[in-house]
């Protein structure tokens, strides 16, 4: 009689955040925003960075995204440290590894939906199919519209498409539902969830909305520049079932 051994899937460390410190200002107005952040994020995880206003979560996201620099410590993606990178190298790093979604959609006003997504596709050597992304986002029939012809939710979906089409290692979302109403917010969160399921992106989402943590694989709560909580969420809730 034979037996089968089911191998447990090994977690792959994608992002390592090591002892990050960051301050703003100087002298009497100096503010220590991050006071030694140590986090690891696994590939394929949806991590929610939670915390009140001023806790440093957006600052941390910006440092992960290479658009801000830490005073001390390092970020490493797939072992590649960003602290040692020149500006040109950081641009390449963002181009190859990251997708960014902002609270304010920041679409290019005179490009239509499809073209705004193609702006992201252009940057990647192995981008996703634009039309497929449009369909996934439910924007295919709106693909020829300009941003000012779209609702807030549709604009945010376009912005998500622009980020996702790059097929990035990590998707960084800075308050992606901050400018949206409840129903639209839930639509966006469901979309982010389905993208993660379909494309396997690692997602780091900053939010001040505590309810959103329930859909995360990992929750990291920041307070006063430090990690107060960092745990795996074993009671995951689908985005559609979130309520606040």
């Amino acid at each position: 009689m034979g037996f089968f051994v089911v191998a447990k899937k090994e977690a792959i460390m994608l992002l390592e955040i090591n002892d990050i410190h960051k301050k703003f200002g100087s002298g009497d107005s100096e503010v220590q925003v991050l006071k030694g952040i140590d986090i690891s994020v696994e590939k394929g995880e949806l991590t929610v960075l939670l915390g009140p206003s001023g806790s440093g979560k957006s600052t941390l996201l910006n440092i992960i995204g290479g658009i801000d620099s830490a005073d001390y410590g390092y970020i490493a993606i797939n072992g590649e440290r960003t602290a040692d990178m020149s500006e040109k190298a950081l641009t390449e790093y963002r181009r190859k590894h990251l997708g960014y979604i902002f609270q304010q959609y920041n679409l290019i006003p005179n490009l239509n939906v499809k073209e705004n997504i193609e702006v992201g596709a252009y940057l990647s050597d192995n981008s996703l199919n634009v039309d497929e992304v449009l369909r996934t986002l439910g924007l295919y029939e709106h693909r020829h519209k300009l941003p000012n012809q779209l609702s807030g939710g549709q604009q945010q979906r376009t912005a998500i498409g622009r980020a996702v089409v790059k097929n990035p290692d990590i998707l960084l979302c800075d308050e992606p539902t901050g400018a949206l109403d409840y129903n639209t917010s839930k639509e966006i969160l469901q979309l982010i969830e389905s993208i993660k399921t379909k494309y396997g992106n690692t997602i780091i989402m900053v939010t001040h909305n505590s309810a959103i943590k329930n859909m995360a694989d990992r929750v990291i709560r920041l307070h006063d520049g430090k990690v107060r909580e960092n745990y795996v969420n074993t009671n995951r809730v689908a985005a559609a079932d979130l309520d606040w």
Binding site: N62, G65, I67, D68, E87, K88, T91, E92, R94, R95, K96, L98, G99, Y100, F102, Q103, Q104, N106, L107, I108, P109, N110, L111, E115, E118, V119, G120, A121, Y122, L123, R162, A163, K166, A179
Partner: protein, 778 residues
């Protein structure tokens, strides 16, 4: 995959068509004007240069009192180490009638033989074949309103005009080579058959001999050396032969030949300077508009940078459209320049000068200067501006934290000022950099506008001033000292005439040499009031005309040196008095002092002042008159300048207005766009369009009007220095003059022009979207 950002190119152009169209029109216009003038100028210069060989133009000429013998001519040809060929180029000179006004004609026989010098270029019609036919210089004919087929009377004989010519030794119709300016209306040249020429008696004939060197001098310095040598050798031969030298004019000194080339070159220099000024203005405008675009799209840029677009990609993206506009303007401008403007420029020169016909030459130099250089200049300036702007991080762009201003706190305003006024003040303070640019731009525009508007009244004022301060209506310079019929020394009872002495000297200032007329005046002259400084001073004390004093910065007590033109002798004088005589660069001294300085006998004199036409009255025989200087001669410079550059000045005026409107429009638009959200917000609050205009449009209006009022007199002041510098290289002196009403008129033009722009700004505010404020979270 093609960069999808490229698809923005024509959409951006369409969205901001007003701005790009204005920039395009301005640039294309500027390039057309400059290109047209350069092409015309260089094509005509090329034809002019070719004419030296083609028409066998002289290297100089001299006039003898009497006809030289053949032996003397042979001696003339071998006199100098630089062998010459001599060609008798006699002319008859006298008044021509049946013209629209009094005019002097210098008539030559046709120069058709193979060895003839200064061969003529037939412009229109036919060369004279019969004794009663004449060809006239084209400009002379046009200015005097006579055409082919008309009759004129010269020295009592009737001629029918059979054609127009251009004579290469009279490209500019200077009657005398060292005159201040020519006047193509009152002096001209013509050609008749040899038989017709010979049929005149010798009363009016002038024995002019043209010469050419075996080897043409390479430059003016060499020409001077050769000319000086030739003169030195010529004089003894002339006088040994019992003749005398009336004048000696080497080619480099003959303005009748060289003036147009110099003028075209000066015009080209002026046009290119104008172009570079326009490039500075446009680069300035480009930098401002690029800055505004970057600010407007700051968050998009931040997102693109955060997504992985490199600085280089985005800089090239924002560079592409302005460069496209510049390139298109270059192409269109050149096409217009080579067609319409070139003809306009050529006609301008043909109206002033008798130049041979020309062929339009492709001008690489013009293309480089009008297209390549501006393109490169704009590219560099725009690139540097964008590189500077993109120095900020992606985060700074996302946060719209991309201005250099470090001011974080608002300036406190007194709360006693009404809220609308305070709001308006805040708009001004918030947009100070843009308003500073408006001020500078308006200043540039006003400099161009003043230049265009001031010249005509300045010339008119000069003419009026000349007229009111003339010494007399007629100055007769004599060939020999003669007494007048019924003359009575110093008495005005019998004849209106007073003797004077005259010498022509040269004053040097750097490389510039200018003739100075030196007068010896009888005591208690009825024509001019000068102080008597006596004859005892080691350095003679003289009165100087205000023209001389102003041009060469001389004041009472200053000592200056004048040189003989053809001899190696200098004279020092001290300024004792400056007198009001703007028409001439001249000095005056009492007759005794004059004769002492120039080693002349007591009582010597060279001419007569008179308010009467002594020749017409039969008091003075015309054959004794070497030259007559009349009111017209003093007005030549202003008249000719009006003809030469009057059209160009109108172009400058128009351009000044366009530059003004361009700068104010673009910068005002930026202010409105920058405040679009705020405008939208206060519309939502309930402000009416008129109230919003009173804040935003009024803020800009205050700045624009203040800029106009302050910069117009500043521009006039700057222009006074520029115009005086310009006239330093003309013989004579035209002081800068801006009529009292000119500055208010220019302010009026500026304000009216701005009113048009303000109207469009109010329309923009009316169309401002209410939702702009609602969509953006600030």
């Amino acid at each position: 995959m093609n960069n999808p950002l490229n698809r923005r190119f024509f959409r951006e152009l369409k969205d901001d068509i007003g701005k790009y169209l204005v920039i395009f029109i301005f640039l294309a216009g500027m390039i057309a004007i400059v290109s047209g003038f350069l092409v015309a100028g260089e094509s005509m210069t090329a034809a002019y240069d070719e004419s030296y060989e083609k028409y066998n133009v002289e290297d100089g000429n001299f006039v003898l009192a009497n006809e030289a013998s053949d032996e003397d001519i042979d001696s003339f040809e071998t006199a100098s180490q630089y062998n010459t060929v001599i060609y008798p180029n006699f002319y008859q000179q006298g008044e021509v009638s049946s013209m629209s006004s009094r005019a002097t004609l210098r008539l030559y026989s046709d120069r058709t033989s193979s060895e003839a010098m200064n061969k003529v270029c037939l412009i229109e019609g036919n060369m004279p074949e019969n004794e009663d036919e004449i060809c006239l210089d084209r400009n002379f004919a046009i200015n005097n309103e006579v055409t082919i087929g008309d009759s004129i009377t010269f020295l009592g004989r009737d001629f029918t005009i059979c054609g127009y010519v251009a004579m290469p030794d009279y490209c500019a119709p200077f009657e005398k080579p060292n005159e201040t300016m020519f006047d193509a209306r009152i002096f001209g040249t013509g050609i008749v058959t040899q038989d017709a020429f010979d049929s005149f008696d010798d009363t009016y004939i002038h024995y002019q001999y043209s010469w050419r060197y075996e080897t043409t001098p390479k430059n003016d310095a060499k020409a001077k050396t050769m000319g000086d040598d030739y003169l030195e050798k010529l004089i003894p031969i002339v006088y040994t032969g019992g003749n005398s030298l009336v004048s000696f004019t080497p080619g480099y000194m003959n303005q009748a030949i060289s003036f147009p080339d110099g003028d075209i070159t000066k015009d080209q220099a002026m046009i290119i300077t104008f172009m570079y000024l326009c490039i500075v203005i446009m680069a300035f405008v480009f930098a401002i508009t690029a800055n505004s675009t970057i600010l407007k799209e700051s968050r998009v840029i931040g997102t693109l940078r955060a997504s992985g677009y490199s600085k280089v990609e985005l800089i090239l993206h924002y560079l592409a459209l302005p460069m496209f506009v510049v390139l298109l303007a270059g192409i269109v401008g050149n096409i217009c320049g080579y067609t319409v403007v070139k003809d306009f420029a050529a006609n301008m020169y043909y109206r002033s000068y008798s130049l041979p016909t020309y062929v339009t030459l492709w001008n690489t130099n013009a293309f480089i200067k009008t297209t390549i250089i501006p393109l490169v200049a704009f590219f560099v300036i725009e690139l540097v501006s964008l590189i500077w702007k993109f120095r900020f991080s992606p985060l700074d762009f996302l946060r719209q934290n991309i201005t250099s201003s470090k001011r974080k706190k608002a300036i406190r305003l007194n709360s006693k000022i009404g809220i609308q006024s305070r709001f308006r003040l805040r708009v001004i303070l918030q947009n100070l950099p843009n308003y500073a640019m408006i001020f500078i731009g308006v200043f540039f525009a006003n400099v161009i506008l003043v230049f265009g508007c001031v010249l005509s009244p300045m010339l008119s004022h000069y003419a009026d001033t000349i007229t009111s301060s003339l010494l007399c209506e007629h100055q007769y310079v004599l060939k020999n000292q003669v007494e007048l019929a019924n003359s009575n020394e110093g008495s005005d009872e019998e004849v209106d005439a007073e003797r004077f002495g005259i010498q022509s000297l040269i004053i040097e200032s750097g490389d510039w040499k200018e003739p100075v007329i030196t007068y010896g005046i009888v005591p208690n002259s009825r024509y001019i009031d000068i102080d008597n400084f006596g004859t005892d001073d080691e350095i003679p004390i003289v009165s100087v005309s205000n023209a001389l004093a102003e041009k060469f910065n001389l004041g009472v007590g200053d000592v200056f040196t004048l040189d003989e033109e053809f001899e190696n002798r200098s004279y020092e004088f001290e300024v004792g008095q400056v007198i009001d005589f703007p028409g001439s660069i001249a000095i005056f001294m009492e007759e005794d002092a004059f004769n002492k300085v120039f080693d002349l006998e007591e009582g010597s004199f060279s001419g007569y002042f008179s308010n009467t036409n002594l020749v017409d009255e039969g008091i003075l025989d015309e054959s004794n008159v070497a030259t007559e200087i009349s009111r017209d001669d003093y007005l030549k410079i202003s008249r000719q300048l009006e003809i030469s550059i009057g059209d160009l000045m109108q172009l400058f005026s128009l351009f000044g207005i366009l530059v003004f409107m361009l700068i104010v429009y673009l910068l005002s638009k930026i202010v409105i766009e920058k405040n679009a959200t705020s405008i939208s917000m206060i519309k939502i609050l309930g402000y009416r369009n008129g109230e919003i205009n009173k804040i935003y449009v009024a803020a800009t209006s205050i700045i624009v009007v203040l800029s106009i009022v302050i910069t117009v007199p500043l521009a006039s002041m700057l222009m006074s220095y520029l115009v005086e510098a310009l006239f330093m290289s003309f013989n004579g002196w035209i002081p800068y003059y801006a009529p009292p009403l000119l500055l208010p008129e220019m302010c009026g033009i500026g304000i009216v022009s701005y009113a048009v722009i303000a109207f469009f700004m109010t329309l923009r505010i009316k169309k401002a979207s209410l939702s702009a404020a609602l969509k953006i979270n600030e």
